[in-house]
């Protein structure tokens, strides 16, 4: 139903009502073959392996009406569907990464007309995919976010900043006390942000001797930012798997004595943030 307008000449159109969704590429082998049958794809269907040139793509068959161009656009505009597809996509990648690393995660909604087209991509790009897999072998991605929490210090800041215990200002008038408290809160907020910025600066320092690559993400906020504080830094590091726990501990230690700052470490993730050179083999890798 959704006929892509740019089907290359000479490529036979797919059956028409089914497409092949690609989640990840790894090395074809027993581990990849073993994990696939236990996974469910974006549409709930079974995940399988398409092998070519020693590489294996984890794919599932999806209906063309939902995963063609207009179907996908509609689905991704719908937050509930977007979440379902994103989580399913990540779950396949995460499980494969857990049991058959290294794994190259594909971007969400990488869809081909049929299995043969996926095999052709593996063949065409196998040199580069292999290089990436070699580079990412034995590495994991850790996410680290630094938050400022101005509210954590409102109580103490108002005392410290005014130099007067909060209970000893009855004669000052409610308005003045209010304004004083306001100012103290603002100072507290700024202090929290300064402290968080300082911790954020040390995140990279702590990772310095261990991480092999670093990526900066946009700070999180709004509806999906579940943390109570203000996210001032959101970064990802590519780390040898054997150092991951130590680095996690080192990051957590940064904010141990700082109540206005919290550090959240996520992962290990499949190396999502460190595969960007895939599209431009000549363009060099990550910084």
């Amino acid at each position: 139903m959704t006929t892509p307008s740019h089907v290359p000449a000479g490529v036979p159109a797919a059956a028409g009502d089914e497409l092949t969704y690609v989640y990840a590429v790894g090395r074809d082998g027993p581990a990849l073959r073993a994990v696939a049958p236990r996974l469910a794809g974006a549409d709930g269907g079974p995940v399988r392996v398409i092998g070519a040139d020693g590489l294996g793509a984890l794919v599932s068959t999806v209906p063309a009406d939902a995963f063609g161009e207009s179907g996908l656009a509609t689905q991704l505009e719908d937050l509930a569907r977007l979440e379902a597809i994103a989580r399913a996509h990540h779950s396949v990648i995460d499980a494969a990464f857990g049991e058959a690393p290294p794994i190259l995660p594909m971007r969400l909604a990488t869809v081909y007309l049929d299995d043969a087209r996926v095999g052709a991509v593996l063949t065409r790009r196998h040199v580069h995919f292999r290089e990436l897999l070699d580079r990412l072998e034995n590495h994991v991605e850790l996410g680290v976010k630094v938050y400022a929490d101005p509210r954590a210090v409102v109580g103490t800041a108002s005392v410290a900043a005014t130099g007067t215990p909060a209970g000893q200002t009855p004669g000052a008038g409610a308005g003045r006390a209010y304004l004083r408290q306001r100012r103290a809160q603002q100072r507290g907020g700024r202090a929290a942000h300064r402290a968080a910025a300082e911790v954020a600066g040390r995140v990279a320092e702590v990772a310095g001797g261990v991480a092999v690559s670093r990526a900066v993400h946009r700070p999180q906020q709004g509806q999906l930012a579940t943390h109570s504080g203000v996210n001032v830094a959101n970064e990802a590091y590519l780390v040898p798997v054997e150092h991951a726990d130590r680095l996690r501990q080192g990051w957590h230690a940064l904010a141990e004595d700082e109540p206005r700052v919290s550090v959240e470490v996520t992962g290990p993730w499949a190396p999502y943030s460190f595969t960007v050179s895939a599209e431009a083999p000549e363009g060099g890798g990550n910084p």
């Binding site: 892509p4 740019h6 089907v7 497409l19 690609v22 469910a40 974006a42 549409d43 709930g44 995940v47 656009a73 505009e77 977007l82 379902a84 994103a86 989580r87 779950s91 499980a95 857990g98 049991e99 190259l104 995660p105 594909m106 971007r107 969400l108 909604a109 990488t110 869809v111 081909y112 101005p150 509210r151 809160q185 603002q186 907020g189 942000h193 300064r194 910025a197 600066g201 990279a204 320092e205 310095g208 670093r214 946009r218 700070p219 999180q220 906020q221 709004g222 509806q223 930012a225 203000v230 001032v232 830094a233 959101n234 798997v241 991951a244 996520t266 290990p268 993730w269 999502y272 960007v276």
Partner: protein, 156 residues
């Protein structure tokens, strides 16, 4: 929101080895989205879907702020000032109180960025790669819901 969705996820079995696998089902949606939408290997599929458009418009509007209407109620209208999102973006429109607050927050954000950069430089660390630097200034300011009343108070 995500609670009601969680039950409907097609959940693959969790047998991941501890060293690599992580919580695929419990991972934060924002963390997942920023990876599966913005990162990962980009190969040209047969089905062309412009994730960039979706990311900029749908995701940023609908996920980063609760909804357009709600956001406007709250005085959040940054997309109208974001050159990549609107032709109406214009620096002059800053006198209204939400704009003034944004400006103040943007300035604070700028200062903090400079400070982080200085600390990084002091630590001999490489500069962060800011692929989306033009958005982050605006983005960062609006996470501070609790800063809103303070900013207004100061200006009156």
């Amino acid at each position: 929101m995500s609670d009601s969705l969680a039950g409907r996820m097609p959940g693959p079995p969790r047998n991941a080895a501890p060293a690599y696998g992580q919580s695929g089902s419990s991972a934060n949606l924002a963390d997942i989205l920023e990876r599966v939408l913005d990162k990962g290997v980009v190969i040209a599929g047969d089905i062309q879907i412009n994730l960039l458009d979706i990311e900029l418009l749908t995701i940023r509007l609908r996920l980063l702020v609760a909804s357009v209407d709600k956001a406007k109620e709250m005085g959040i209208d940054w997309w109208e000032h974001d050159p990549s999102l609107s032709s109406r973006a214009r620096p002059a429109h800053r006198s209204a109180s939400p704009g003034g607050r944004r400006e103040a927050l943007a300035e604070e954000n700028e200062r903090l960025r400079a400070e982080v950069a200085r600390l990084r430089a002091a630590g001999g660390l490489p500069e962060a790669e800011h692929t989306d630097a033009e958005h982050t200034d605006e983005d960062s300011g609006h996470g501070e819901a609790e800063a809103v009343p303070e900013g207004r108070e100061e200006r009156r």
